[in-house]
Symmetry: C2
Subunit: 199 residues, 2 copies
């Protein structure tokens, strides 16, 4: 039904995760409706981000220089490393204001089925950083999914061998704040019981 | 928290209707994650669509030439015009395969509160087309919203005066196919009762 340039735009928009054909069409028609200026501002922003944003040389977080903002900030505690799967995982942890250490971005989680093996992640660099002088703790903040958990166990194993003086910790599992017990799944609730704390 | 180019991209993405700050962030991180090639394909598609797609001179549908595909197609029946608010409204009607006439895109609906008056829409052009030789029917397919209904009534009024030989029709209101009576609102159900048909 559409002219080729519109089809092409819809196809490109539907590559976004969670954006189906229908939504992509709606977004495309939005871009057709707005001024050239507004639509091209998006095109330019995409181009600019791909030209200027790369990976931090140390932690693989997003960076516009060779080091990311956190690695450049000498008020951050270099004794504690927080390991996350993706750069986007840094933001929610920063928002908590509970962590003042540095990060290490793996670039994914181990998943043999999807062909993601240890050498596909920044694990060698993690081992090297963790074995360096002064690192006391590695907080593993991979997702609470099957692949995230498997990756956490792998990291704990490998660091126990390669950096035995470092303590490896994991984010706590438990009830989300504000949630009803009634709706908690049994695995989460089971973990919350085992990890109960004195009041 | 983000570098300026990432903030800019998030801002531009959040201009899409229905895309909040959170989703815009997710889309931005997707673009950061994919290859330069994939991200720039989207930027280029936006640019191309704004450069090549304009309005049909006759019906104001989207067009890559001076006339849209439908206005160029001489198998379409020029005796019947279907009036829609936006170019995106043409597609669902085309998909029904129930309409073989031509279109007229208004470019919105009348809404005095939002400052959309008759002269802001392609209404003068509609009157001119409807008064032309051979047009027998104008099907008003504006949305079933307050502004869409008001626009339909306005069109019926003005055409009664300016093109009295043309019959002006409106899409039927009624129960959506597959829907439960129980969940129908009373206005829809009331119209479905009034417009009941013999089986």
């Amino acid at each position: 039904v559409f002219a080729p340039p519109i089809n092409r735009l819809i196809t490109e928009l539907s590559r976004f995760p969670g954006i189906g054909q229908r939504t992509a069409q709606r977004l495309a028609f939005h871009l057709l409706r707005v001024s050239d200026e507004e639509a091209l501002a998006l095109a330019d922003a995409i181009r600019e981000v791909k030209e200027t944003v790369g990976e931090c040389e140390v932690c693989f977080n997003l960076a516009t220089e060779s080091l990311c903002r956190i690695c450049q900030d000498d008020r951050r505690d270099g004794h504690v490393l927080c390991v996350v799967e993706e750069p986007s995982d840094v933001i929610p942890i920063e928002r908590t204001n509970e962590f003042n250490g540095r990060y290490h971005v793996l670039g994914g989680a181990l998943s043999p089925i999807d062909g993601v093996d240890p050498e596909d992640l920044h694990l060698a660099e993690l081992i090297e950083r963790a074995s360096a002088d002064g690192v006391r703790e590695v907080v593993v903040a991979t997702n609470a999914t099957t692949t995230g958990e498997a990756t956490a166990l792998y990291i704990a194993d490998v660091l126990r061998e390669r950096a035995p003086s470092v303590s490896v910790t994991r984010l706590a599992s438990g009830l989300p704040v504000g949630s009803d017990l009634e709706y908690a799944d049994e695995i989460t609730l089971g973990r919350a019981v085992r990890a109960r704390r004195e009041l």
